[in-house]
Amino acid sequence: MIRVENLTKTYGLTAAIQDVTFEVGKGEILGFLGPNGAGKTTTMRIIAGFFPATKGHAYVAGYDVLEKPLEAKRRIGYLPENPPLYSEMTVDGFLEFVARIKGVEWNQVRRRTQEVKEQCGLANHGRRLIKHLSKGYKQRVGLAQALIHEPEVLILDEPTVGLDPKQIIEVRELIKGLGGKHTVILSTHILPEVSMTCERVIIINNGRIVAVDTPENLTSQLAGGLRIEMEVTGSIDELVNQLRAMPGIRNVLAQPGVGDHYRVIVEAKGDQDLRNQLARMVVESGLELYELKRQAMTLEEIFLKLTTEEEAAA
């Protein structure tokens, strides 16, 4: 439903996102997880057609958002981080206007407005001026305008920010209910939020995708500890077997490197530092050790930057 290929967006010399590639299937709810400033909003804005990418392409329902913007945008409901609301309008007036410019048939505008108001808990707020609504209700109006033309694709940028805990739960339930019928991309910097709502998660940091997985797998990976990378020469088969047999090690990957060098990546459980033991093992098994390092940015470190506490979200 959504296909993103090698998206890169640069501002002057700094890159907001680099080579972002992913796909979202029909009816799937995809979480976009990353610390603030990781490039989530930039990616979503490109898909929604707000601005073009410097490089790469984004397709929605098979339409390139840059080449066929109207076709693509008709199929997208987009809730930006700050809901774009005309504060001087009433909720009804605003939703009816959005329905019209999003291509809802004019004789269906009233009906759709009523429907999304009920869906988003705004049934009694139709005649209120948007500027008099609280943050939580403004967010609901934002969500309602994204849903009003029954888009196949929903792009929600931090949909639960600024809501109180009760509202957060309601909005999450609402989003969960949208899966299946709509394809949803949802960004957040709150870890529990994705595990509650999403079927698949993309973790993005410093403008690059660092992991794509189900929330369960990511959580179990999170329970695991360090990743240590070694560069060695010699016959590594025995070493690999030895490592695999070692307690506290979850996975060992060996890849040929430059010349007769090999890269061995060891994933340890827990957070004990195995570097000294590994160094000794390599030397004792008669191999030459060229390099041994912890991987620069592990998932755990990215997760540390994320909000893991539910309270912080409220």
Binding site: F50, L70, P80, P84, E88, I101, K102, G103
Partner: protein
């Protein structure tokens, strides 16, 4: 077409939920009314004095003189008030973030711009209504009543002039997020366009002719005299097209710069 109508309608509505529109309307009503009174009294007084001035006196065409002066004053008032109508058009959408809604909706730049433009022109027409009442008095109380066509030509001129200035205002507003900056710059540009021919010397070099041609006021004068000349209509229409086209370019470039 439907998108365009929806956008026009929304813009019209948004005029009347903001206090700016009411203030502009009230100021315009008051000032034009006052000037109409001054101008009318002045010419009536002149005419009366001439009547008693002796055998050399000539009859004066009071209604057409009043119209001509009044249309001249009208253009000056527009110069001051139009920046306030256009200042928010795009600057405020950018500031409030609602431009994000427009840019991610299945509407084209042209629909957005033309929607805003149509709404503003309609607003100008509404603004002119009381002026029509004022000047309408000339038809009731003059004997014989003045011919209608010069009057309509003058009105057309005022509308074309306003529309041309609006398109400039839109362009300036699309360049910034700040309404006050937009208003100030728009006002500055208006004044330059107004008096650009002042820098032209009396000789008929190409530069001088061009400067004279660019003055928006020069093209307006024939309208106030009741002269309908297609060259002026073409000037204003191309001016409007250029202004709106630049606005569209500016919106596009804002997307690329973001």
């Amino acid at each position: 077409m439907k998108n365009y109508l929806a956008l026009t309608f929304k813009e019209l509505k948004s005029f009347f939920v903001s206090p700016i529109a009411y203030v502009v309307l009230a100021v315009f009503f008051g000032v034009t009314g006052y000037f109409f009174y001054i101008i009318l009294s002045f010419y009536v007084e002149q005419a009366v004095m001439r009547q008693f001035g002796g055998p050399t006196s000539m009859a004066m065409d009071v209604p057409s003189m009043v119209m001509q002066s009044f249309l001249g004053v009208l253009s000056t008032i527009l110069l001051f008030l139009l920046p306030m109508i256009t200042m928010g058009s795009f600057a405020d959408e950018r500031k409030q973030g609602t431009i994000e809604l427009l840019f991610t909706s299945p509407v084209t730049n042209a629909q957005v711009i033309l929607g805003k433009f149509t709404a503003s022109v309609l607003f100008i027409l509404l603004m002119f209504l009381p002026a029509l009442l004022n000047t309408g008095l000339l038809f009731f109380y003059s004997d014989p009543p003045p011919p209608l066509s010069p009057y309509l030509v003058g009105l057309l001129g005022a509308i074309l002039l306003s529309a041309a200035l609006l398109s400039v205002g839109f362009f300036v507003s699309s360049l910034t997020e700040n309404q006050i900056v937009a208003a100030a710059v728009t006002f500055g540009v208006f004044i330059i366009l107004w008096v650009i021919d002042a820098s032209a010397g009396s000789s008929t070099t190409v530069t001088n002719e061009t400067l004279r041609y660019l003055s928006v006021l020069n093209h307006y004068e024939d309208f106030t005299r009741g002269i309908l000349d297609t060259q002026h209509i073409v000037f204003y229409l191309s001016f409007i097209v250029l202004g709106l086209f630049l606005t569209s370019l500016s919106l596009d470039s804002a997307k690329w710069r973001k």
